[in-house]
Symmetry: C2
Subunit: 181 residues, 2 copies
């Protein structure tokens, strides 16, 4: 059975969307939602404001309260019938994210066994056939086939196959077999 | 550079030793320290008492307060000059262990970067050339070369090369190069 590793932030979880919500609510900015979804936050925000974003990521609870990406639960559930599914999140940068990510997975993806969950730093340590991730630097380090999940901070990249949504992930990995499910 | 993945419990950390201490102090048992170091706790203890051990593992703080294995810090520091070192701990079974293990590494192995730390479940996800681990089931699942770190629960196994101590790990992986350090 082929193994697919799935990133969490901006792949399973709409982390960017949650940050945009917080920026529009709490930051002193003239940027609109459309602006904030059009490029990386690092490139759009003043360095001081970007630093504030990083401090939000460090807050206990932040990663506990993120919406699930559209169609992710249904498609991952379907994929589980045909592939070995692992979640592999680069969580080690943010100490407080560990428990939040654990609990978030328990709530939204309880069917992914604890044996199939990985909190890591560098994704070169992940042994899988595929990695679906929004960060090009993760895919570059990965030894299997990398699939780029579309996100505001990777719009320009052409080095990896791109998927626009979970619906497209389903089509790519399940194809016709879908009708059998 | 070859990559070595290191397990935490009973490899970097003397988890068994800490459990023996707790059992001798808090459990109603006639077993001695020597008995408890002579076989797996699961085989030695009454099932009810073993269940109590598992509940100790689940307590917040347990994994924060474990002694470092003799010579581990010095040898891992030396190894870091010649190998890419990752820590890979099967922590996902115990939710409360995540932060404790993170903080424990920060205290005792601050020179191992967060990018090189992995909290996982099944070790088949770990991509490395070597894995030093006390659990045969982890080594069986691992795709590289497995090295068994001697522990009371693996004394009978002959399937993997065995190391008795960190001193022996140093000799095996550094050999003569050690004199150059």
């Amino acid at each position: 059975m082929l193994r697919i590793a799935l990133d969490m932030d901006d792949v399973l979880a709409d982390t960017h969307g949650r940050l945009v919500e917080i920026i529009l609510r709490d930051f002193d900015t003239s940027l609109t939602e459309k602006d904030l979804n059009g490029a990386s936050l690092r490139s759009l925000l003043h360095p001081k404001q970007y630093k504030k974003v990083v401090s939000v990521l460090n807050e206990p609870g932040f990663f506990r309260d993120i919406p699930v990406m559209k169609d992710a639960v249904e498609v991952v559930k379907e994929l589980s019938g045909y592939y070995e599914i692992f979640v592999a999140s680069a969580a080690m940068e943010f100490r407080n994210s560990l428990i939040d990510k654990y609990d978030w997975l328990d709530e939204h993806f309880p069917f992914i066994h604890w044996k199939n969950r990985v909190l890591c730093g560098d994704k070169s340590i992940v042994k899988a056939d595929y990695l679906i991730d929004d960060h090009v630097f993760n895919l570059v380090n990965f030894s299997g086939k990398g699939i780029l999940f579309n996100a505001p901070h990777n719009l320009e990249d052409t080095r990896f196959d791109r998927v626009m949504s979970w619906k497209e992930v389903g089509e790519r990995f399940l194809g016709n077999s879908r009708e059998r499910v």
